[in-house]
Symmetry: C2
Subunit: 347 residues, 2 copies
C-alpha cells in the first residue's frame, strides 16, 4: 500500500509535509493560520485520531501514569484514585490502574507490567514499601511516589499521613473517655505497614497513659467486614473483654459495629468503636462511626502532582509530604459502662 501512516495521509490531502501535520498538533503556533486550518480540516474529514503510542515511542514519554492500590474496592482508595485522576487528566495524562490485593508479588507484577508499558511514573499504595521492584523502577528512572504512609526515611518519595500519631490520638481519646481495656483490630501487618504504624500508635497511647498492653486485646485480621465482625466477637468472648475497640480501618469497624449490634450491645453504651479512614459511609451508619479522617482525595492530588513534577524533572519541594488527619468524634464512642469501670477498679 502507498501510505498507511495516518499522519501521512493527512499531510498528502492537506498538501503539506508530515512534519507540518505534527506541528499543528504539538505546536499549532509554529504553523501559519492558513495551513493550520487546512490541516485541521483534513484531520476532521479523515476522522484522524492521533496515535499516542507512536508519539510516545519517539518522544520517550507515554503520557500514562501507573496507579497501584491494594483494592479499589475500599472506598478510601477509590477516593484518592479520583484525586489522582483529576490531576492527571488536567495534565493530559491517562491512568493505568492495578489492584495488588495487599499482595507483594502481585504488586511487583503490576510494577513490571507498568514499566513494560513505559508509564512515565507510578503512584503506589504499597504493601511492602521497600519492595525491590519499586526501588528498581526508581533506579531505572521511573519516578515512584508512595501514598498513605509517611516513611520519612524511605528512599522513595511519598505523600501520606502520620499513621502512628493519628492512631495514638484516637486511642488517647478513648482513654480520656475512661476506657482502660481497649482492643485493637488490625489489618494484617505483613501486608500493610500502615496497619502496623497504627498499631504502634495504639501502643504508644496506652504507654503514654500508663495502661498495660494486653496481647489478648490485639487481633490481626484481613481487611474485610466479616473479619471485623468475627474479630470483635472473639475479643468479646474472652475473660476481661474490652470496653472499646480501635480498628485500623473503617471496613473492619463497620463489620465490628454490625456484630456488636447483632449481639444486642448498645453502642457506645456497652462498647465504643473507632475506625480509621472516614470513608463516606462512616457518617451514615447508625450510630455514626467515630473515625480518623484522612484527606484521601487531596492525597491523590498531591501524589499525582509530585510524580508529575518528578517526571518533568522539577524536583518537588518536599519528597515526603505528610498531610493532616483529624479525629471525627461521632456517635460510636462514649464513656465505658459503669459496672465495668467498677470491676476494673477492684482489680
Amino acid at each position: 500500500m502507498t501510505s498507511r501512516q495516518n499522519m501521512l495521509r493527512v499531510a498528502e490531502l492537506a498538501q503539506v509535509s508530515i512534519a507540518t501535520v505534527s506541528r499543528v498538533i504539538n505546536s499549532p503556533d509554529k504553523v501559519s493560520p492558513e495551513t493550520r486550518q487546512r490541516v485541521l480540516g483534513v484531520m476532521q474529514q479523515l476522522n484522524y485520531t492521533y496515535n499516542v503510542l507512536a508519539g510516545s515511542l519517539t518522544r520517550q514519554r507515554s503520557m500514562t501514569l501507573g496507579l497501584i492500590v491494594p483494592t479499589i474496592t475500599n472506598p478510601i482508595f477509590a477516593e484518592s484514585t479520583r484525586g489522582v485522576q483529576e490531576r492527571a487528566a488536567r495534565q493530559g495524562y491517562t491512568l493505568l490502574i492495578g489492584n495488588s490485593d495487599y499482595q507483594a508479588d502481585e504488586e511487583a507484577r503490576l510494577v513490571r507490567t507498568f514499566r513494560q508499558h513505559r508509564v512515565d511514573g507510578m503512584i503506589v499504595t504499597s504493601s511492602h514499601p521497600d519492595s525491590p521492584a519499586l526501588l528498581e523502577a526508581q533506579r531505572a528512572g521511573v519516578p515512584v511516589v508512595l501514598t498513605y504512609s509517611s516513611r520519612l526515611r524511605s528512599p522513595l518519595p511519598s505523600v501520606g499521613v502520620d499513621n502512628q500519631a493519628a492512631a495514638a490520638e484516637a486511642v488517647g481519646y478513648l482513654i480520656r473517655l475512661g476506657h482502660t481495656r481497649i482492643a485493637m483490630l488490625a489489618g494484617t501487618f505483613q501486608s500493610s505497614d500502615r496497619s502496623y504504624a497504627r498499631y504502634l500508635g495504639y501502643n504508644a497511647a496506652l504507654a503514654a497513659h500508663g495502661l498495660p498492653r494486653d496481647p489478648a486485646l490485639l487481633l490481626e485480621v484481613p481487611y474485610a467486614p466479616e473479619a471485623g465482625a468475627n474479630g470483635l466477637l472473639r475479643l468479646l468472648d474472652q475473660p476481661g473483654p474490652p470496653t472499646a475497640l480501635f480498628c485500623s480501618n473503617d471496613i473492619l469497624a463497620f463489620g465490628a459495629l454490625r456484630a456488636a449490634l447483632d449481639r444486642g450491645l448498645s453502642i457506645p453504651g456497652d462498647l465504643s468503636i473507632i475506625g480509621f479512614d472516614d470513608s463516606p459511609m462512616a457518617a451514615l451508619t447508625n450510630p455514626r462511626l467515630t473515625t480518623v479522617a484522612q484527606p484521601a482525595y487531596a492525597m491523590g492530588e498531591r501524589a499525582c502532582d509530585m510524580v508529575l513534577a518528578l517526571v518533568a524533572g522539577t524536583p518537588p519541594e518536599t519528597t515526603a509530604l505528610v498531610l493532616p488527619t483529624s479525629l471525627q468524634m461521632r456517635e460510636t464512642t462514649g464513656a465505658p459502662p459503669p459496672h465495668v469501670a467498677a470491676t476494673h477498679q477492684l482489680t
Copy 2:
C-alpha cells in the same frame, strides 16, 4: 550512540539477531533451548524491560483496554472494575481507567483519549449509550461493550441486568407488603438510562397493581447521600407522605435511611426503604438495607470476556447478555404503619 534499541543490545550481547530476541519473548519454543537460555540470561543481566509500546506499534495491538465508569467512588462500580481487571490481567491486558461523572461530554473526552492510546477495546457504563463517540469508536473498529444496562436493541453489545424488571420486582414487593403510597428517589434520568429504566419498572409495578401514579412521589436527584437525605425529607414534608421509598441506588438509600433515622422515624415501622445495587455496605447498615442485588463482579468479568472475544475476532455467542438480579429482603422493609393504612382506606 551505537544502539539505543534495547532488544538490539540484548541481541549483540547474546550473539544473536534481534529477531531471535523477539522470538524468545513471543514464541520461546521457536528458539533452541541453548540460545533461549543465553538470551534470557543477557536480558536478566541487562535488566531488560520489554517495550510494549514499540511492540504495539508494529503489532497494531496495544494490550490495553479502556474502562469508563461514572465514578469509581460508587462501590458497585469498584466491584465490577475488579471483575474486569481480573479477567483482563489473566489475558495479559492492562486497564486504562476513567470516570465520566455521569457527564456525557467527559465520557466522550475519555473515549477520544482512549482511542488515541489505541486501546484494543473499551468497556463503558455509559451515561448516554447512544453517544456518537461510542458508536464512532465501534465503527472505527474498536469494540465497545456497555455494562449495567440491557439495551437489547442497541447497536452496541452489552452485558447488564434488566433494570426495569428488577425495579418492578422491588416495588411489587412493597405493594404486597401493603404499601400504596410509594415514593421513588431516582438518579437524574438524563445522566443514566439505568435510572430511567428503574423508574419505568416502578411505574409498571404501580400500574400492574392498579395503584395511581402520583408525580409528587417521584424525585430526580443526583447520586449522593445528601441528595438521598434531602430528597426523602422533601417527600415526607408534603401532604400525603409516602410510607415506602424506592431508591434507584444504594447511595441514595443510605442517605435516606440516615435522614429518616435522624427524624426519629422507625424503620421499617414508619417507612420502608429499598435500594438498588446491594453494595457491600447494604448488609451492614442498621437496620440492614433491603435492596436489589446486581452481580457487579460477574458483570465486569463477562464484559471483559466479551470485548476480548470481539478483539480476537471471535464473535461472542450473545451480544446482549442479561444477568439476573435478586431482591435481598432485609430489615428496612415491612408493612406500612396501621394508621396510614387506615387513612388510605378512608380516601
